[in-house]
């Protein structure tokens, strides 16, 4: 068939599946992104207990593990795990379709509006995935921790960050988190359709403030340990 002859290719099998559609998968990514973003923010706030000393932090950790008769944490873990898996699934499948949509690239390209952050989402995402695995092995299971004491979160925290390359890795990961979140937070408002000229500047500012706050505080932990502010 000649390319000029117009037919309705693919219209017959038009599928109504939300999760199959590009916008649907994008919405999945946005909603799971919000869950992850919410978690990271709360987690950052919770970890502030480290500045209040061993007792406060361990107390907080214990609270987390015992709330709702110890059920809470499992519900919470299930939600988080589902979110991460769905998020990774959506990200992977969308990235694959996006790659396929431009089989031949340009010789020259001048970007106007895409940012470093938006261009690197999939890489910062992958790095975050690696970080999460490492982080769990490090501070939750202690597998890669040099001196892990189950139940003593504060101790694990301090001794963990006293290893310089570990701290360095955490810092790099937080910078990735920053890039990912800065675009991500603005992006999910767009994906979910929360756009209006009156609030558009606000959306950007919201993402920036939040990112700086989360990343700033998170980076302060390894630095505080390394410099001996927390010991």
């Amino acid at each position: 068939m000649s390319v000029a002859e117009q037919t309705l290719a693919g219209a017959g099998e038009r599928s109504p599946g939300f999760m199959d559609s590009s916008v649907g998968r994008k919405v999945v990514m946005a909603i799971t992104g919000i869950v992850l973003w919410g978690f990271v923010t709360v987690h950052m706030l919770g970890n502030l207990t480290a500045y209040m000393g061993a007792e406060a932090m361990n107390h907080y950790a214990e609270f987390l593990h015992t709330m709702i008769h110890g059920m809470g944490i499992w519900v919470f873990r299930a939600v988080l795990l589902t979110a991460v898996l769905l998020h990774i699934w959506a990200a992977t499948s969308l990235t694959l379709s996006n790659h396929a949509a431009r089989p031949v690239g340009y010789r020259k390209q001048q970007r106007q509006s895409a940012t470093w952050a938006s261009r690197s989402m999939r890489w910062t995402g992958v790095l975050l995935g690696i970080f999460i695995v490492f982080h769990l092995l490090h501070l939750t299971f202690g597998t890669v921790h040099p001196d892990f004491i189950k139940g003593d979160a504060y101790h694990n925290f301090v001794t963990g960050f006293q290893v310089p390359w570990v701290s360095a890795f955490y810092i790099v990961a937080q910078l990735c988190l920053g890039l990912h979140m800065w675009h991500g937070v603005w992006s999910f408002t767009q994906t979910l359709g929360w756009a209006h000229p009156r609030y558009n500047a606000l959306r950007r500012n919201f993402a920036t403030v939040l990112t700086v706050l989360v990343v700033g505080v998170n980076i302060s932990y390894p630095i505080a340990v390394l410099t001996g502010i927390i010991h």
């Binding site: 693919g10 219209a11 038009r14 590009s22 379709s97 020259k108 940012t115 989402m121 408002t189 756009a195």
Partner: protein, 261 residues
Amino acid sequence: MEKHLNLTLQVWRQKDAMSEGEFVEYQAKHISTEMSFLEMLDVVNEEIIRKGEDPIAFDHDCREGICGMCSMVINGRPHGPKERTTTCQLHMRSFDDGDTITIEPWRAKPFPVIRDLIVDRGAFDRIIASGGFISVPTGAPQDANALPVSKQNSDLAMDAAACIGCGACVAACPNASAMLFLSAKVSHLGYLPQGQPERYGRVRNMVSQMDAEAFGTCTNHGECEAACPKGITLETIARMNRDYIKASLTYRPEIASGGAG
């Protein structure tokens, strides 16, 4: 004031959809700054024809920025360096003497190259055919003033309706996504009362067709907005996402209408 330029062009040449393409270099001599970009190519083509070679094929028609036919990536930007300007309205005064200009076709899987700088944008028509309309057969509809439309909504609808279907948004998008084009039509019809009855079915059908055509998805890079010669904004994409979510949440399979006999 009129000046003259000597330029080097690096142009993508490709015989047809099946052939491999390559960049070929041409010299464009004594080009007046008063020329449009397409007139510059006309001049180069006249030279090429006189030499007995195949001229550079490119799409164009109205040459005044409204038909959406012209389509080339100039130095890495769809429609070239000037904002809100189609290739046919880009003038050579935007370039300097001695410049090298790279000219490439739109690049996207659903826009196969037919020849040189010409691509097939039939996918856009098929997206419109899947739902980008109001189903109102010719006949005797109610009086045009029977349905008031607020000036604001009418203006917003017009803003979105200004899309010329050129495809620069797809060409610019790092994911080759057609979301800006789609959302322009969804918003145009969605802002008007006449568009309401089919509002949610329309967006579902159009998105499905877009996916079937193998366009990429939007990850909110915003390149499309920057490239769009008609100033279609990202807000339309957000608006369409919202409609799509609502459409999916409230979708119910069609019930066969009874009452025969």
